[in-house]
């Protein structure tokens, strides 16, 4: 019975984190059609910034976390303005080829960030000092309070995002842009401003997800690739561009991994989720809630 609760709690925390990480990734793709392969590197940058603030500048956990989120935010906007926007606007590349150019550019950008982090801070793993310390006992399971904190913050941020998209005018414009970009421009909304807005939102999501990941599990510069891959897998499983799909897929993947780790072996943790992804690709290529 303890094992059941253990899996339930541990799986929930990790799934919530996956959900938050994948939400931003899905949002960017849904609205602007950009698959941002520097996703993992941006998360790692946020973690390392939060860690460095704590270890080198002795800022304390709150300021450290804030610095981490700020770096994620700033790097996201930098990614948009330096890497994505010039490619979207150029006339030198044919329209139908732009997607693959942006894909490649973000991949290279991610590698550059990853190597820079490794150069400056080595490729050893880093962890962020948790804001909430200590353990709590729930149903006989001794769980770090930080796991609950992680899940709560993740859901708070996702709820805020939902409110923003569904209850505000700006959010509705973003939603409309994801459905019909041309239609939105006809209504007098500037598409480029929507792009800036979603990259800003994405930056916050990436920063928060990164810092929480750093507090919960820790990352090294090597994690950049696997983090992008896991966000990508979750988003593909959920249906490309569908945020609710990504949320469901995050829980499917998170629990599948946790159950495997507990009941079979931690060594095989990621395998069933990847098999599931292959199976879904066969049976339902557009993913769980995919529109296209």
């Amino acid at each position: 019975m303890t094992l059941f609760w253990q899996i339930l709690i541990d799986g929930f925390a990790i799934s919530s984190l996956y959900a938050l990480g994948a939400t931003g990734f899905a949002l960017i793709f849904g609205v602007s059609g950009v698959l941002n392969l520097s996703h993992g590197a941006l998360m790692v940058a946020a973690v390392v910034a939060a860690w460095a603030a704590g270890a080198d500048l002795h800022t304390g956990p709150y300021a450290g976390a804030a610095i981490g989120v700020a770096v994620g935010f700033a790097l996201s906007l930098l990614t948009y303005f330096v890497v994505v926007q010039p490619l979207q606007r150029t006339r030198k590349i044919r329209e139908e080829e732009k997607e693959i150019f942006i894909l490649t550019a973000t991949l290279l950008w991610g590698i550059m960030i990853q190597q820079l982090i490794a150069y400056l801070y080595t490729d050893n793993a880093k962890t962020v000092d948790p804001i909430v310390q200590g353990v709590v006992s729930v149903a006989g399971v001794r769980t770090p309070a930080n796991e609950f904190f992680t899940a709560i913050i993740c859901w708070l941020v996702i709820a805020l995002l939902w409110l923003l998209v569904n209850r505000t005018r700006a959010g509705k414009a973003v939603l409309a842009a994801s459905m019909n970009p041309r239609g939105v421009t006809l209504l007098g909304v500037e598409l480029s401003r929507i792009y800036v807005a979603i990259w800003a939102i994405y930056g916050l999501l990436v920063g928060i997800a990164g810092v929480l990941l750093g507090m919960f599990l820790g990352v090294s510069s090597y994690s950049a690739g696997p983090l992008t891959a896991s966000a990508f897998a979750i988003v593909v499983l959920g249906g490309l561009g569908s945020v609710p799909g990504a949320l469901i897929a995050a829980y499917v993947v998170g629990y599948l991994e946790t159950v495997t780790a507990y009941l079979i072996s931690p060594a095989y943790r990621t395998i069933p989720a990847l098999l599931l992804l292959v199976a879904v690709m066969y049976v339902r290529p557009r993913g769980l809630l995919g529109r296209r």
Partner: protein, 422 residues
């Protein structure tokens, strides 16, 4: 498909071969001049962005500069040529080939990753170049030499083998865990890597011998990020201690051990814990972690240890990693062997290195003979290299064992429960 490929390849291969032959002829013609006052070149292959790896070229350079300041070797200076292999075997092999064929190094100091060193070993034989590893541990490196001595004799193992490390850990566990803390049972927890295979075999053999019953043996993937299930399983088995074999991972299991307040001490090999930056990397979660090492800050293993550490800190601003100590010693004993051999001829150099008897920073360096199961492995034991057992306490690495160089006592954070401690 294959056939056209091959045909297409033939011309470049011929060109390469003839160019190679030309280079060979040229290099055969030059040694007579090269000997006189050209520098002795030592290639250093390591991952510069890893904490363990970055110390290797730095320490080698420090040793070279010291030797050069004292007049060099037979009037020749030592020159260090560094290559970054990003700890991958293909890049290391390419670096090795470049070092030997283009840069004409006389010896190579390479990598602390067993998988990488095992990939370099046949190349050391093919290119007849003395190669010493400052940090890899797999026993297979020297077992290969035993199997094919004539070809692989150019490889030297400048760090303890996994079996020796397990034995050193057991020796410390006997005094500290069984003797002082009266522990009776253990779970072995190791990452799945080449170096831990012989380590675990020896752990499972030596732990029962010192009186620690092994309740379980867990091997996990080095990609593991969430250690909760592993610690949970271990806690359910109620051992007195977790005996570790970790090197590729370190920060994550340590931080999660503390966050989850796993009430069982960790004791054993935890290579990343030997780095001085480990306290910061884990935000202090490493408090109470016990780790095997061959060197430690403020531990005067030999009269050379502390002067080396001081010189290193002064020059590079941080303390050397475990591979820094060995890389520093390696430059010295390679130089010493060249001096004794009176030449950089690889076969003469191998003979001279086999006779090495050099007191370095981690103890007295002597290699096992060609008739043993592990030729060219370091001799480990009370007369040569003993090893240490250290513990992180309040941001410092404190040495607890052996008693003659200990500077502290075992101390655990409050969440650790040591049942029958006295």
């Amino acid at each position: 498909m294959k056939r056209t490929d091959r045909r297409g390849m033939r011309a470049p291969i011929l060109a390469t071969l003839s160019a190679g032959a030309a280079v060979a002829v040229l290099s055969l013609a030059t040694p007579a001049f090269a000997q006189a006052n050209d520098p002795i070149k030592i290639g250093v292959i390591a991952e510069a962005t890893a904490v363990a790896g970055s110390s290797i070229p730095q320490a080698a350079q420090l040793a070279a500069d010291e030797i050069n300041a004292a007049g060099g070797v037979n009037g020749r200076k030592i020159q260090i040529v560094s290559y970054d292999d990003h700890s991958t075997a293909p890049e290391a092999v390419r670096a090795f080939q470049r070092a030997v064929s283009q840069d004409h190094v006389n010896a190579v100091i390479a990598s602390y990753i067993s998988e990488v060193v095992l990939a370099l070993e046949p190349w050391a034989g093919r290119l007849k170049t003395v190669t010493v590893t400052p940090g890899a541990a797999s026993d297979v490196i020297t077992q290969n030499i035993a199997k094919d001595y004539d070809h692989l004799k150019y490889m030297f193992h400048g760090y303890a083998t996994s079996t020796s490390i397990a034995d050193a850990t057991c020796a410390a566990a006997k005094d500290l865990l069984v003797g002082q803390l009266h522990m009776k049972s253990a779970v072995v927890m190791s990452e799945d890597a080449a170096w831990t295979t012989p380590l675990d075999v020896e752990y499972l053999k030596c732990l029962p011998q010192i009186g620690l019953k092994v309740l379980d043996h867990i091997r996990f993937s080095p990609d593991t990020t969430d250690f909760t299930p592993i610690f949970n399983k271990i806690e359910g088995e109620k051992p007195d201690v977790i005996i570790t074999g970790i090197s590729h991972v370190g920060v994550q299991p340590t931080v999660q051990w503390k966050q989850q307040e796993v009430p069982i001490p960790m004791f054993g090999v935890s290579s990343q814990a030997t780095n001085s930056s480990f306290w910061n990397d884990t935000n202090g979660a490493t408090e109470g972690v016990l780790f095997q090492g061959f060197s430690g800050p403020d531990v005067a293993v030999t009269p050379k240890t502390l002067p080396f550490v001081q010189a290193f800190v002064k020059r590079f601003g941080n303390t050397p990693s475990y591979c820094g100590y060995t890389a520093y010693d390696e430059v010295y004993y390679i130089a010493d062997a060249i001096k004794r051999a009176g030449s950089t001829d690889p076969d003469k150099l191998v003979d001279a290195l086999e006779k090495t008897d050099y007191v370095g920073t981690i103890g007295r360096v002597e290699f096992k003979g060609r008739d043993t199961a592990n030729p060219h492995a370091l001799k480990i034991g009370p007369q040569t290299i003993t090893g240490l057992m250290l513990q992180w306490q309040n941001g410092k690495q404190v040495n607890l064992w052996p008693a003659n160089v200990a500077n502290g006592k075992v101390k655990f954070p409050p969440f650790i429960k040591v049942g029958s401690a006295d």
